[in-house]
Symmetry: C2
Subunit: 165 residues, 2 copies
DNA sequence: GTCTTCTTGCAACATTGTAGCATTAGGCCT
DNA sequence: AGGCCTAATGCTACAATGTTGCAAGAAGAC
């Protein structure tokens, strides 16, 4: 239920920045013919702003502690919609729950790193998963998902000290 | 609950083959200090013999239709044990359930192809996921998982005809 | 402001996997 | 062959992650 990451905050941004972000998310949603609701707005902003992919649960917690609680189902549906519209991407993190990230450039795909100690997922923007290979006859590749597993920098520092989740 | 694949059969193998396989699985299990039970034996044989990774559910169905029904939990535990012992590997198929495959050569890793139409997963023995890359400082990679997504040969043949699952 | 239709929230359900615990059975020893 | 110890099994209950159906609410066009 709880997330180890700090909750979603506007952090060190000016009010102007916030307004601009807000407008941008609002416009991207409206441009796809969807209604601009507080859920879609909040989720899309969080994904656009966030630096690493978030799980449904983390998003729910963050929204709740920002004072905008939501039903679980609504969140699932908002996320589904964002993914359908190409505004977000769904990532199989190596654990049982999907993670979501905002899509800035639809053409750019990248690999991810999953820390097996703390469960954190980070984007490897520089690493593009190479899809083209000699496949069995008749197979057609549409995309490639590459996930590196290991230990993140934070977990490495404490050496033996294993942080939960 | 049901699997689209044909259930596990001895197919076109001689009784001698079966005995040999049986002995081999039995020995591999005993060699790790585990007790040789009908569950571990049956599961390991199925994984060794199988050509593509199977889900827990598919394994359960196959065992049941071979007349050796098992409790779900027992199957999970047998699979966990085989993975711990390095006799099987767990694969994140892109759907919500793990898939399992027998380990022949512990050193050899390969990528997989997930058909987004029928859900089938096939091994790409020839494709080794390249792990070494420039990671952020302090990150340590232990393994890489590469999954190609697209359409398998069977689903491609029927063109528009989409088979469920 | 009204109306239409998309979106939400709730309750119920589905799937996939785990934990606790009493019972069974593998396999070693005699 | 029989007994014993402990690992493995099977049940039940539970946890985590999603999904479905439907009545009520709200976005935004008019
Ligand atoms: Mn990413
Ligand atoms: Mn494989
Ligand atoms: Zn970590
Ligand atoms: Zn297919």
């Amino acid at each position: 239920m709880a997330s180890p990451q700090p909750p979603y905050r506007a952090s060190a941004r000016s009010a102007d920045d916030d307004v601009l972000r807000h407008v941008s998310a609002r416009e991207r949603i409206a441009a796809r013919g969807g209604r601009v609701t507080r859920t879609r707005l909040a989720v899309l902003e969080m994904l656009q702003h966030g630096s690493h992919p978030l799980s449904h649960d983390e998003i729910g917690d963050a929204l709740a502690s920002a004072g905008v609680a939501h039903d679980r189902v609504t969140l699932y549906r908002a996320l589904d919609w964002l993914v359908e519209q190409g505004l977000a991407r769904r990532i199989a993190g190596g654990e049982r729950a999907w993670r979501f990230e905002g899509v800035r450039d639809a053409a750019h795909r990248h690999a991810h790193f999953h820390c097996d100690r703390c469960g954190q997922v980070v984007c490897l923007e520089g690493l593009e998963p190479a899809p083209a290979t000699a496949l069995p006859n008749g197979f057609q590749v549409e995309r490639a998902e590459l996930v590196l597993h290991g230990q993140c920098a934070t977990c490495g520092r404490g050496d033996e000290e294993v942080r939960p989740r």
